[in-house]
């Protein structure tokens, strides 16, 4: 961060304060935030949800929500304060001087326009090219961001491209006019880990080539540590820590940064050379409570004239009672299909699944329903998996009503006991999901799964949507519950760092096939397949090992 006196910073944010108004309420979400970005520099804005990082980024490019207002401070681009500029003035800046790489490639492209039209649009708006010339420039841009057959891609629509390809298209748009600053707002959090690495590499490469500065907005300290020159750590709209990445990681000054570092699974996974010591407690002898043997699942595709698609191909694994087995894979690997078969939501095409000695294929109707109390699910999205109209008590008590006929006092006692077990206050009983935080909601979902005293709990990306500090608490809770109740976990995840931290055994899936399996140590230290090695290398935060 050598800021020479001659080149002014590309961006200088000083004492920025932003508030949201909605008629009556006035909520300040960014307080006196200051930082600068020098030419060619990558600065990461790191924080958890509600930290104000996205609001800050939106204000820089002039795209705050209609009810958001800059209440103080300045945003200077090359020394000119643009914080009070009108939309019309900013239109000339957006795209040309500051551009944006958005978070979710799936919804960030217009579904009814071709890729070529959407890339060409930025050239057209700024009057840079037209006609033949425009077409040629679009194709060369698409080639530049690493898309194969760029001429074909230009004619295709967004739904015909994968998530990673779409993000490349969005990067092509962002770099089209060689802007001075690119705001990358969680550019890879919706992508698989291997794709994430390739996309971040691409951004790095283009940045170096064009000398562009990048403001990287992320919740992932690992990503920030790998990619940024300097870090700005935000919490509750205030800057907690600011400095060169190396310095911040090696000797964090604020307690909050220290907390973040301690909780980020990617760091602990890399720093710890041996598998987590916490795992040693678990019994290594015991019966196999989940047996999957030669599982095959075909789906017929209606648009392909009866040709079927094999989602899971000859998958076998066993899980010891009281241990955690992780199923790891990227999107389309067959993880979800596998667990749907295991909980009995769909009949396998071939193969055998045995839960606690019961062969699933022998179960029908009522016996299948009764079986479900043995195996319970916790879903990824704590916002969608709870009925917004039910109180916490009703949500947790519902499984009890479905099975067994506990009288009301006994039921109430059971619900209260389980809620205190998962660390929810008594006061939460009468609340509805919207009044709870993400972490609290996931605790409710866990309580709902545990209230039936199941043997096996399937955790389907159960901590993926949570902030790292919240995630760490939920993982602690899961570990504690496993030890106390002897639960067996099937942990489905794309996040290898978390998997390494909490599992005993792992199955790595790719395109429906098992490519690697065994104990955590076997898989992480001595991976047998190239794919597993690629997955491990893609875990962000590996640079930090060098700093500590």
């Amino acid at each position: 961060m050598s800021a020479s006196g001659f080149t002014p910073p590309v961006l200088e944010v000083e004492n920025l304060s932003i508030a949201y108004h909605d008629g009556v309420t006035h909520r300040r979400v960014v307080h006196d935030v200051s930082f600068r970005i020098d030419p060619g520099e990558v600065v990461a804005l790191v924080g958890e949800s509600g930290s104000g990082k996205t609001t800050t980024a939106q204000s820089i490019i002039g795209l705050l929500h209609a009810n958001g207002r800059i209440e103080g401070g300045s945003i200077s681009l090359n020394g000119t304060d643009i914080s009070r500029w009108s939309d019309r003035q900013l239109d000339a800046v957006r795209g040309a001087k500051i551009s944006l790489i958005p978070q979710d490639p799936a919804s960030s492209l217009n579904p009814v326009k071709t890729i070529g039209a959407q890339v060409g649009e930025i050239l057209r708006i700024h009057g840079v090219a037209s006609g033949r010339d425009l077409e040629a420039q679009v194709i060369s841009l698409l080639g530049r961001v690493g898309l194969s057959e760029p001429a074909l891609r230009a004619r295709q629509y967004p739904h015909e491209l994968s998530g990673g390809m779409r993000q490349r298209v969005l990067i092509a748009i962002a770099v089209a006019l060689k802007p001075q600053l690119i705001i990358a707002d969680e550019p890879t959090s919706a992508l698989d880990v291997t794709v994430q690495k390739r996309i971040l590499d691409l951004i790095d490469e283009l940045r170096t080539e064009y000398g562009t500065s990048v403001l990287l907005v992320t919740h992932d300290l690992g990503v920030a540590a790998d990619r940024a020159d300097r870090l700005v750590v935000l919490q509750g709209g205030r800057v907690q820590e600011l400095g060169a990445t190396k310095v911040v990681l090696a000797a964090p000054r604020s307690a909050y940064t220290r907390q973040l570092l301690a909780d980020a699974p990617s760091f602990s996974a890399v720093v710890r050379t041996a598998p987590a010591t916490a795992r040693d407690r678990h019994p290594t002898s015991g019966d196999d409570v989940v047996i999957v043997d030669g599982l095959v699942q075909d789906f017929s595709r209606t648009d392909d004239r009866g040709k079927s698609f094999r989602a899971v191909d000859d998958l076998s694994f066993r899980v010891r009672r009281g241990t955690t087995h992780a199923i790891v894979g990227e999107s389309g690997s067959g993880k979800t299909t596998t667990i749907r078969a295991i909980v009995g939501f769909q009949k396998p095409t071939a193969g055998r699944i045995e839960i606690d000695g019961t062969d699933l294929s022998t179960l029908r109707g009522e016996t299948l329903r009764q079986f479900r109390r043995k195996i319970q699910l916790v879903y990824q999205n704590p916002y969608g998996s709870l009925d917004p109209r039910q109180t916490v008590f009703d949500i947790v008590a519902e499984p009890l009503l479905n099975f067994g006929r506990l009288v009301r006092p006994a039921r109430e006692e059971k619900v209260r006991a389980i809620l205190s077990r998962v660390g929810l206050p008594e006061a939460a009983l009468d609340r509805r999901p919207h009044a709870l935080s993400g972490g609290q909601r996931q605790r409710v979902a866990i309580a709902r799964a545990l209230v039936l005293d199941p043997d096996v709990v399937v955790l389907d990306e159960a901590v993926s949507a949570l902030d790292v500090t919240v995630q760490a608490r939920i993982l602690d809770l899961l570990d504690e519950l496993q030890r106390d109740l002897g639960l067996t976990y099937l942990f489905v995840s794309h996040d290898l760092a978390v998997v390494r931290q909490i599992s005993d055994t792992v199955s790595v899936l790719k395109d429906g096939r098992l490519v690697d399996g065994g104990t955590v140590e076997d898989v992480f230290v001595r991976p047998r397949s190239d794919y597993t090695r690629e997955l491990i290398n893609a875990i962000p935060g590996q640079k930090r090992a060098a700093f500590v």
């Binding site: 490019i61 795209l63 939309d87 019309r88 239109d91 000339a92 800046v93 957006r94 795209g95 040309a96 551009s99 944006l100 958005p102 978070q103 979710d104 919804s107 960030s108 492209l109 217009n110 579904p111 009814v112 326009k113 649009e121 930025i122 708006i125 700024h126 057959e149 074909l152 295709q156 629509y157 739904h159 015909e160 969005l170 748009i173 209606t302 648009d303």
Partner: protein
């Protein structure tokens, strides 16, 4: 694609058959019939013997299921039977009344669509919150006014007060002005409401922010990104609203004394002219089904996501 087409065609045929059958059953279940109403009139002085002969000539006394089969067979060959009241083939009557209604309905629908688009886009473009609120409340107002009242008020204001549109001996297009407006107002309301909601919804999608980040102005984004995405779901509503259009045409034609299918329906109900009513129901159902079939077939053309994915994963 062909599966989609066959599926929709099958549904369309089923709807037509169901409309025919239900209306047939209902018309049969009505007490009395057109023959009795017309020929039992004492002034005609017909004997019961003669009436029975007339009834036999219309096959009015054969078993219901025989009549059902006969009628469906005739309809399939394009023969809609005879109107007892008018004494001419139903086909001839329909041909005489259809053009006026077609003109009214298509113009009414076009105007309704125009109203809806103007209301929705003006509301989205206006920078003032109060104006936006006012414009957005127009559809609720439109939807709550009865059609006949709109018609009467329009005549009062534009014909009698302002003398802008003649009511006595108007020209062939002049006579359509007020009825078309009358018909369009209530139809435009739900269209505008859906469109406003869709525009608001599309405006929150991330691709709109991306377009803005390219440096596009609000107008550019609205016309080039939001419009098509917001209009697509509205199209479905438009197809369904066609049913409203038929109902509205009956009332409008009555208020303005137009000689269309609507007026014909009113008279046929009065005289229990079952053959005419049956044909009107089948024709309305046919029109409804065809419009919705067109909407269904239009979707894959307008929305690339609904087209086949041939070679997409290459």
């Amino acid at each position: 694609m062909s599966g989609y087409l066959l599926n929709r065609l099958g549904q369309a045929l089923f709807v037509l058959w169901a409309a025919f059958t239900i209306s047939f059953v209902l018309l049969q279940a009505m007490p009395g019939d057109a023959i009795l109403i017309k020929f039992q009139n004492p002034e005609l002085g017909l004997t019961p013997q003669q009436i029975a002969e007339i009834r036999a000539s219309y096959a009015a006394d054969s078993a219901v299921w025989v009549q059902y089969i006969q009628t469906i067979n005739r309809f399939l060959t394009g023969d809609f039977g005879y109107s007892v009241q008018a004494g001419v083939p139903v086909g001839t009557i329909l041909a005489a009344h259809l053009p006026a209604t077609l003109k009214l309905a298509s113009l009414g629908f076009l105007l309704a669509a125009t109203f809806a688009v103007v209301i929705a886009f003006v509301a989205s473009l206006t920078p003032f919150a109060w104006l936006r609120g006012a414009i957005q409340s127009v559809p609720s107002l439109f939807i709550s006014i009865p059609t006949f009242w709109i018609g009467i008020m329009l005549i009062q204001i534009f014909s009698f007060r302002l003398k802008l549109v003649p009511v006595i001996n108007p020209g062939p297009w002049q006579e359509l002005i007020l009825p078309v407006i009358t018909l369009a107002i209530p139809i435009s309301a739900p269209l505008a409401q859906v469109l406003v909601r869709n525009i608001d919804d599309v405006l929150t999608r991330p691709f709109v922010a991306v377009a803005r980040a390219k440096g596009a102005t609000r107008h550019w984004v609205l016309w080039r990104h939001v419009a098509k995405n917001a209009l697509l779901p509205t199209l479905t509503i438009a197809g369904v609203l066609f049913g409203e259009l038929i109902a509205g045409a009956v009332v409008t034609e009555t208020v303005f004394g137009l000689n269309g299918i609507g007026g014909l329906t009113g008279r046929a109900v009065g005289s229990q002219d079952a053959a005419v009513l049956q044909a009107i129901v089948v024709f309305s159902a046919l029109a409804f089904v065809v419009i919705n079939l067109i909407v269904d077939l239009l979707f894959p053309v307008l929305d690339p996501r609904l087209r086949t994915k041939a070679g997409a994963t290459a």
